[in-house]
Amino acid sequence: MDAAAPAARPVVEISLTVNGRPHTLTVEPRETLLDVLRVRLGLTGAKLSCDVQVCGACTVLVDGLPVSACTYLAYEARGRQVLTIEGLADGDRLHPLQQAFIDHAAFQCGYCTPGMILAAKALLDEIPRPTADEVKHYLRGNICRCTGYKKILEAVAAAAEALAARHG
């Protein structure tokens, strides 16, 4: 043994599905899901901002539930389904939430938008026709510093309508 050799860092092999595509990766336990998505998989929609689970810019869905990918170990996603903003559209056809955010001018700089839309998707999956208070409550942890939120609330309400119409 070479005493000067650095100790090998612990690694763990994980299999997960990201936007419908299976991946098997060797990661360090310390790697966050956000780093793996952005750096390893090139999915840069989820953003690093506050790094303490307050702002929501890094929101992705794991088995349908919003998590802060900045403070969620990639290890935790083993065996799970991860959805990022890149996986939301159906080919060239935008998801009704994405279309509603465009139609209602619900973003300006766009930094919060991927997280905001994914949180809204989780909400609408859970409560298809939420009240305005339910939308505000659910999105309370996603911060936008541009829109003042009114446009976002309008967009989510419109997307709920569109999804309800689609599902009859």
Partner: protein, 290 residues
């Protein structure tokens, strides 16, 4: 960026306890990570070994026993699982109500009740509420399992009665009777609460007087705590003439508050708010009888 660590995946509480026993100060139990990973990122603590409690079967169980009317919340039950559980919503609506307001939905999806209690961050909600249920905490060590009353669990800011190699396996609390109502009121200007007050109010059978009351104040000092001095003033009071006693009880709670200055406000300010929120929470609980 987190420093390197090894992740252990024990399949039993005994194995988890033994791992922390073996690695000592270099190891920590890991559940949701919503608190632990933040302080590890900041470099405030450094662990070379994390012991994942979520790989232990059964630790995430949430059970209500109708015979004993006891809810048993497994250590790795998430805030969101607690919030959404049918028996909790039906039998312990105050718990669902309080959990719904913890942090944000992402934290609630991942953060656990055991982690919340063991981290003992003073600015938290569940501990304060659980004090008004006379809850009990189950701690499993390498040799035995012991039960600690909630009132003896918190020993200081970020400090509890749990030994380093003990796993918080569950919290147990009993459903209130037909004449008991709860209220929890909090306010905050940051992500975490600045103040939280829980009241469990039991009226006598004809609902004219205070048979019993439990009041707990959290967030303002190092630990959440019951306020027996305030409870004693209110116990036995006729509801129609409770206002004067409520003033005195609120003042007693303020006097008992071990408030500290921090980013949430000065101790002086918090003491005044304790007075206001004890009054409000008591009245909110009383209003739930009508």
């Amino acid at each position: 960026m987190l420093r390197p660590f090894e992740m252990h995946q024990p399949e039993s509480v005994e194995a988890a306890s033994a791992l922390v026993g073996r690695y000592g100060d270099e190891a920590a139990f890991y559940a949701g990570g919503t608190e632990l990973l933040l302080v590890m990122k900041e470099g405030l603590v450094r662990y070379r070994h994390l012991v994942d409690l979520k790989t232990i079967p059964g630790l995430g169980a949430l059970d209500y026993d109708a015979a004993s009317r006891v809810l048993r919340i497994g250590g790795t039950v998430t805030h969101r699982a607690l919030e959404r559980h049918p028996a909790v919503r039906e039998r312990f609506p105050i718990i669902a109500e309080v959990e719904r307001q913890v942090a944000n939905v992402r934290v609630r999806n991942v953060g656990t009740i055991g982690g919340n209690l063991c981290f003992a961050e003073p600015h938290a909600d569940p501990g304060t509420l659980f004090l008004t249920f006379d809850a009990e905490v189950e701690l499993a060590g390498p040799r035995d399992v012991r039960t600690v009353p909630m009132g003896a669990f918190f020993t200081g800011a970020y400090e509890t009665a749990r030994q380093p190699d003990e796993v918080l396996t569950a919290v147990r609390l009993r459903e209130g009777g037909p004449h008991t109502r709860w209220a929890y009121m909090k306010f905050g200007i940051h992500e975490r609460p600045t103040l939280g007050v829980a009241v469990a109010l039991t009226l006598d059978a004809d609902r004219r007087g205070v048979e019993d009351v439990r009041i707990a104040v959290g967030c303002v000092g190092p630990t959440p705590a019951r306020v027996p001095a305030a409870e004693d003033i209110l116990r036995g009071a006729p509801l129609a003439e409770v206002d004067g006693r409520l003033e005195r009880a609120a003042a007693a709670a303020a006097a008992a508050a071990d408030a500290v200055d921090d980013l949430h406000g000065s101790a002086e300010y918090k003491v005044e708010m304790v007075k206001v929120f004890v009054r409000r929470a008591f009245r909110a609980a009383a209003a739930r009888f009508s």
